[in-house]
Amino acid sequence: MSDSDPRSPASRVVDAARHWGPAVIVALVALATWQLVAWGFQMPSALLPEPAEVWQAALEHRIELLKALYATGLAAAAGLLAAIGLGSLISVGFSQSRRVRLALFPYVIFLQTVPIVAIAPLLIIWSGYQFRTVVIVTVIVCLFPIVNSVTAGLMAIDRQWSDLFVLYGAGRSQKLARLQIPAAVPYLVLGAKTSSGLAVIGAIVAEFFVGNGTDYDGLGTLMTHWQGFVKTDALIAAVFASTLLGLFLFGLVHLVSRTLLRRWIDVGEAR
């Protein structure tokens, strides 16, 4: 098994084209359809601007968009990291005590099922119109996939491994540190990947409320602001920016996970 890639650069380009080509073609077809609909139906710009108008609006508002991307990205990343830390701790507690699991797991499910738009105003009353509130909302949105996944990983231990630790008289802490936590890492990665997309959604939803009448910079704030002025082209540009942010965060988690999982399984199998 070799670490080096025996393929030539040319064949790798061909492989990449084969891999990404269909998605690029779909994007181009969607753009062309959008342009045709805008032309063909003589849609007013306020309702459906042309792609070029959206691009123009993005350039025009690039400073605001970049600032908002930074603020939302920071809140989403902070919320995701906090959810990973908090969720992992909760999962360790769940894996160590059936009683704790039975008592608290329903409330973790509650975090998943409660409509975030319903509790965001409440959180603002408690935490204020600030960055912290956006992070809290993001944590709430991201927590369930992490807890669900990591708890499963900590508890789904191969019987042979458990037997091995019992045979050599391993204590609970030895089993946790040497077996359960390492075994749960791939599950943590899976949960983090799921939550990375949710983190951006959580941050933007929180900003809809936090940015209301304040100088908070964020994509959610910009969106409500531009919606108020019917700046549809800028609004669509903000939607694209938030999508890119979600993709960026997912890609970042994917890169970190590939590095982490290199120790667990052959990276080729992880693709």
Partner: protein, 270 residues
């Protein structure tokens, strides 16, 4: 220069199962009043149809499966202390995030035996004994199936156990690897003289590697038969008429009492 972990084990222990019973439910008796004695330094092969309770009995001997009746005694009893029983599982069961050396070090670290350099020396020696001295830094996915099983044997033997329990260790391997690992197990036994119980489905393997063969059926130990094959053992013995004749005897036993005459048996069977 660091000294390896001192080999302070007593002479290999003997195993005494007294009316051992394991029930998973009132009507589900996995092991039914099994009496079995395994002498010090003896290898007993445990064979029988799938689901007959072989693995459950083996786990009960290891202390991994609580018994619902009877008892398992080890003599001397102190060998039940951590590290004196080695277990080779059906699958290698190596931790995928650890290197081969780290996997073999694990039992010593869990029982806290020896200093760190001593543990490393012992693990390296154990890996060398299974011809894996060059694989210390490899991870399990970089090893072949046979190498993984050898690493698993090295892990079981790193504590110099008095008792070695093997649960169909070579079941997933092809015939050639199975023979190689059988030969390796015999050479390890020649050096360490542990007491062993090996669960297997393979009649040839059970004959080649054991002093006695115990046949189980539906949770009951039906018979224990002496293995007449001469020691030292070698896979070439599998081509002898004596091996073929004994193979027939064991096959008849596996087929059951209704289909074949009962062979002469020795004490220890229930």
């Amino acid at each position: 220069m660091n000294e390896p972990v001192p080999d302070d084990r007593p002479a290999a222990a003997s195993i005494h199962c007294r009316a051992v019973t394991v029930r998973f439910a009132p009507q589900a008796v996995a092991v039914d009043r099994v009496d079995l004695d395994v002498s010090s330094g003896e290898i007993v092969a445990l064979i029988g149809p799938s689901g007959c309770g072989k693995t459950t009995l083996l786990r009960a001997i290891a202390g991994l499966q609580p018994v619902t009746g009877g008892q398992v005694e080890l003599d001397p009893a102190a060998i039940a202390d951590e590290g004196q029983i080695g277990f080779v599982f059906q699958q290698p069961g190596l931790l995928p995030w650890a290197t081969t050396l780290q996997n073999v070090l694990l039992p010593l670290e869990l029982i806290g035996r020896g200093s760190r350099p001593q543990r490393r020396l012992a693990a390296e020696a154990s890996l060398a004994s299974v011809q894996l001295a060059d694989a210390t830094d490899k991870r399990p996915h970089e090893l072949s199936g046979g190498m993984q099983m050898r690493a698993s044997i090295a892990r079981a033997l790193v504590t110099h156990p008095s008792v070695l329990l093997l649960d169909e260790p070579f079941a997933a391997l092809d015939d050639m690897l199975r023979n190689d690992l059988g030969r390796l197990l015999l050479s390890l036994w020649q050096r360490q003289r542990f007491t062993a119980v090996m669960v297997t489905h393979n009649i040839s393997e059970s004959i080649l590697l054991s002093h006695r063969i115990a046949v189980m059926r539906e949770g009951v130990l039906e018979t224990v038969i002496d293995n007449p094959l001469a020691w030292p053992r070698d896979p070439t013995q599998m081509r002898t008429p004596q091996f073929a004749e004994f193979f027939g005897v064991v096959s008849d036993l596996l087929r059951g009492p209704a289909d074949s005459p009962q062979p002469e048996t020795r004490g220890g069977a229930s």
